[in-house]
């Protein structure tokens, strides 16, 4: 088990290395750079000034030097400094990551709980009205883009019903309170969750249907156990196993989704930071973002493997 983890981590190193190269290439291939991004008609900058700024940011050095410098930074545990405000990228991400993780975590959890429950229900009601309506609902859920879901939710719950705040992470200027934060969290989380809940539902349904045909279910029934036990103890536990994978795969897409959702709901996470960074050509931040997400995703995959071995005694890594 341990050696498996070590092995995975070792294999992760070259992967991450590849990631750095690609993301560096992308970040520097973008048209314009941090300096040009700051120029505006109100305050046009002279050639000299531009040159000087490039000098400050080290943008005048050859690319491979810039890359090596960056790698050096990484090896020292920090991710370089933002071109925009000169702050350490690690620090900036450190501040914002929790908010994004809160958003994603709640969304993922909600999606999982709701999706799985409905999926199991519709599997148990296969070919009945419940099943059909749930499946259809699921499909509709899958076909509404995150951003539009977001708008609809704001329109309904913030503007029409006035139940929930339309944006932000908490009421500005008030001392932070969980309840207040949760009120702000509901809409963006829902916008992210609904789409994925639908996906979980589909897999849960498929998984449960598969399990229902297993002969150990027949055995359980033959023992004369009550239906609830048969379904929950013998069925669900097995049906959940394949969902672990879906869980792992959902994560990268969630990062993507959070970029959009954070923009719509002004959620001050790393997604919002990323969009700004792209506009400002703040390459250290862009690269830091992708690197961090990549690492998180890798760790998540590792966690997925662990979850397997926990859920399924047959699985053992060596």
């Amino acid at each position: 088990m341990l050696s498996y983890l070590l092995r995975k981590l070792l294999l992760g190193v070259p992967v991450l290395f590849g990631v750095t190269i690609i993301v560096f290439a992308i970040a520097h291939a973008m048209p314009g750079d941090a300096v040009l991004a700051m120029i505006t008609a109100e305050a046009p900058s002279s050639e000299e000034l531009i040159a000087m700024r490039r000098g400050e940011l080290g943008l005048d050095q050859p690319l491979y030097i810039q890359y090596l410098n960056w790698i050096g930074e990484i090896l020292h545990g920090n991710l370089g400094r933002s071109f925009v405000n000169g702050r350490g990228v690690a620090a900036i991400i450190g501040e914002r990551l929790p908010m994004t993780l809160e958003l994603m975590g709640v969304a993922l959890l909600a999606a999982f709980v709701i999706g799985t429950t409905l999926g199991v229900i519709s599997a148990l009601r296969q070919y009945r009205l419940t099943d059909y309506s749930l499946t259809l609902g699921g499909f509709v859920g899958v076909s509404i883009p995150d951003f539009f879901m977001g708008l609809l939710l704001v329109y309904v719950f913030a503007l029409e019903l006035r139940w929930l705040p339309s944006s932000g992470i908490s009421t500005a200027g008030d001392s932070f309170s969980i309840a207040d934060n949760l009120r702000h969290l509901i809409l963006p989380a829902a916008a992210l969750a609904l789409f994925r809940a639908a996906i979980f539902m589909r897999y849960a349904r498929a998984g449960m249907l598969e399990v229902l045909n297993q002969s150990y279910m027949r055995t359980a029934k033959a023992k004369g156990l009550r239906p609830s036990i048969i379904v929950l103890r013998h069925g669900l536990r097995n049906a959940l196993i394949p969902l672990v994978t879906v869980f792992g795969l959902a994560l990268p897409t969630l990062f993507g989704g959070s970029v959009v959702i954070e923009t719509i709901f002004q959620w001050p996470g790393i997604g919002l930071m990323f969009i700004d960074a792209v506009v400002n050509r703040d390459s250290p931040v862009i690269m830091g973002y992708v690197l961090i997400t990549a690492i998180i995703v890798m760790l998540a995959n590792l966690a997925t493997d662990l979850a397997y071995s926990v859920l399924d005694p047959r699985v053992s890594y060596d």
């Binding site: 150990y216 055995t219 359980a220 033959a222 156990l225 005694p313």
Partner: protein, 689 residues
């Protein structure tokens, strides 16, 4: 002794009443009416307290559906009970609501299933799975339940049960799992145990263990048993009554001795004829012709008629019902009176010429010191830490024109050996000489050459044919691959082959999924023969087939051998079949050959303890023998081939083992009585009294 007091069961109200279970006119269909499958048609039988009944039939005969219906285990939909009653202690199992039936399931009627691996929940400890029924039906506390479960595990012979309670199914061997399955079924001491082919997935030696166990437990617990099986010989040993099913209908039922002595229904007769008997060897098998029935047709006629030699027009017009032949013996055949007493083996039976054939001594294939090891990699850097010694030093010869049978239990390495000979596995060591040329690590031209001379018939009639190729293309593949002949000539050859294996031309354009198991296996054979090889490796070619079909394939192989002068390496585990069709036998255990010799000598005077155990475990299609024959039942199962026991691999299970066996691996020694064929045994104690 603690066990008895927990196990003694007294149900006074039961004593001396009518049948415990009475099934009357049960019919079950699947799928929407219109194009439904008629799985069970008007089946009736009684089961008395403590009686043991066997329901025997081939796949699709409806035997399992019948009992699962009683337990309320078939899925509805698509299943539908269209008629019948099943009275258990006066209550109709078919009509009472599931909420009630639930309390009978597991408590009064329990069941064990075919595949122990898949019928236990992989993610729950066996402890939990054992106790939950107790807690459900007897409302026991966790403690009490565990105690009873433990007793049960002891009873079914699971060593140090206490710890094993925490283990998960995948940590047990198949045999152990089936024992656990049995324990699980018996915890509540049911009055009926239904065993649905509980040994089919197991090796013969293990099968023997299980059969013994169940027989013993039945006596101890005095319960009634319904044993579902496809193997007449297996049940012959220990049941009182047999009911034969075909295409969803009961065709004959009788006390076991009588059924074997005076079978009345043509199907029963056919079945018995297609089983080679250990006693009467060398008589050509008489298979039941044709393929399994089409259960899509409504049961308005005798379903066996298409395959019946005695069928008359009436059989195709009306469905016969069970008529008593003598008391306790009934058959469902319009012509039972005429056929009654017809001898089991019809005059048609021809003696095979195998006995007479003088075996030429020139070896065609010589395998020497063959080893096939699969590396086991572990750790961060995937270093090799060991190897699965699938084949661990195997030597044998196959003489031109003979059939050498390679026998052994699953995992003994017999298939790997076969594949290595053909070059499908790369040997780690050893020689493979075919007609003098060493092919051990042949590649390129040499490999091609080998393929022209040797071919293989595979075990799984489903997996061995590409589902997306037509029969024609499958058969022709070898010809295309080896660029033999022109397009036209290949087409011609394919037709030729189809005829040769007894398939009709139109099948050429069919896909495997449209064929029956027997037909697929014929296609497999034709494919192997395409390049007209000299040597055929048949890897368990019949074990996946129904009894009545097995005989067809065996005969086909026999005929082809005669007609084309082939040489066979026949890999299998069904000893009775092997005895019937092989000239010489090599017995394998854990990657090594323990005994080699002519079929006669090995079966006649087995010398290796393992061979003896193996032979003694073979079920005999003869009720009387059942009682008399002494069985050597081996303890435990086959060890893990990655860490085989020291010295003689067999010593941990060997009744004769002494300390030397644990230290020194025995050398092969010849014990041939005559100077004729050798009889080589690899055992320190061979030959001792």
């Amino acid at each position: 002794m603690r066990r008895t007091d927990t196990l003694t069961r007294d149900r006074p109200e039961m004593v001396g009443q009518g049948p415990l279970l009475s099934v009357q006119g049960l019919s079950v269909e699947f799928g929407p009416s219109g194009n439904s499958v008629y799985a069970v048609n008007d089946v009736s039988f009684d089961l008395a307290e403590g009686e043991s009944l066997a329901i025997v039939g081939e796949s699709g005969s409806g035997k399992s559906v019948t009992v699962q219906t009683l337990m309320g285990l078939i899925r509805k939909p698509p299943g539908r009970v269209t008629s019948g009653r099943a009275l258990f202690r006066g209550r109709d199992l078919l009509t009472i609501p599931d909420s009630e039936l639930r309390h009978i399931r597991g408590r009064d009627i329990a069941m064990i299933f075919q595949d122990p691996m898949s019928s236990l929940n992989p993610v729950l400890t066996i402890g939990l799975q054992l106790t939950e029924a107790l807690r459900e039906h007897q409302g026991l506390s966790e403690k009490q339940a565990e105690r009873q479960a433990l007793d049960m595990l002891d009873l079914v012979g699971i060593a140090n049960a206490a710890q094993r309670m925490q283990a998960f199914p995948h940590q047990f061997s198949g045999g152990q799992l089936q024992r656990i399955g049995i324990a699980m079924a018996l915890v509540c001491k049911p009055s009926i145990l239904i065993a649905d082919e509980p040994t089919t997935a197991l090796d013969v030696t293990i099968q023997a263990q299980i059969v013994e166990l169940v027989a013993r437990l039945q006596k101890e617990l005095g319960m009634a048993i319904i044993w579902i099986s496809h193997d007449l010989s297996l049940v012959a040993g220990f049941v009182e009554r047999v009911a034969v099913m075909y295409a969803g209908s009961l065709v004959e039922t009788a006390p076991v001795e009588r059924l074997f002595a005076a079978p009345t229904h043509p199907y029963t007769i056919g079945l018995l004829n297609s089983i080679p008997s250990l006693t009467a060897a060398n008589t050509r098998l008489v298979p039941i012709k044709g393929a399994p029935p089409n259960v899509m047709l409504p049961p308005t006629f005798c379903a066996f008629a298409p395959r019946c030699d005695h069928a008359v027009s009436r059989c195709r017009e009306a469905k016969p019902v069970l008529e008593p032949v003598v008391s306790g013996h009934a058959a469902a055949c319009w012509r039972w009176r005429e056929l009654h007493g017809v001898s089991r083996v019809p005059a048609a039976a021809v003696a095979t010429d195998r006995a007479s054939k003088a075996a030429p001594n020139e070896p065609l294939l010589t395998v020497f010191g063959l080893k096939v090891h699969f590396p086991i990699r572990r750790g961060v850097l995937r270093r090799q830490v060991g190897a699965v010694r699938a084949v661990d030093g195997v030597s044998f010869e196959v003489l031109r024109g003979e059939t050498l049978a390679l026998v052994g239990e699953s995992g003994c390495g017999k298939s790997t050996t076969g594949r290595a000979v053909l070059g499908l596995e790369r040997p780690s060591e050893g020689e493979i000489r075919f007609e003098g040329k060493d092919y051990a690590d042949a590649s390129g031209e040499r490999a091609k050459e080998r393929r022209r001379d040797m071919q293989m018939v595979f075990q799984n009639p489903f997996g061995s044919l590409n589902p997306r190729m037509t029969v024609g293309r499958i058969i022709g593949e070898g010809l295309r691959a080896q660029k033999i002949g022109t397009r036209a000539s290949r087409e011609a050859r394919v037709s030729e082959l189809l005829a040769l294996v007894g398939l009709r031309e139109p099948l050429r354009d069919r896909y495997p999924f449209e064929l029956s198991g027997g037909q697929r296996q014929r296609v497999g054979i034709a494919r192997a023969l395409a390049g007209s090889p000299k040597f055929i490796i048949a890897d368990e070619p019949i074990s996946a087939l129904d009894v009545s079909i097995q005989a067809q394939i065996v005969n086909l192989l026999d005929d082809l051998k005669a007609r084309l002068g082939l040489t066979y390496l026949f890999i299998g585990h069904d000893l009775s079949m092997i005895r019937y069709l092989s000239d010489r036998v090599a017995v394998m255990y854990l990657g090594r050959i323990v005994e080699t010799g002519t079929t006669a000598s090995v079966f006649g005077t087995p010398m290796h303890p393992y061979t003896r155990a193996l032979l003694s475990a073979i079920p005999v299609p003869d009720p009387k023998a059942g009682g008399t024959r002494r069985r050597i039942v081996l303890g435990g199962g086959v060890p893990d081939p990655s860490k085989p026991p020291s010295g003689c691999h067999f010593h941990p299970r060997c009744p004769k083992a002494t300390e030397i066996c644990a230290r020194v691996a025995p050398e092969p020694r010849d014990f041939s009585s005559s100077n004729a064929a050798q009889h080589i045994v690899t055992c320190h104690h061979a030959g001792e009294a």
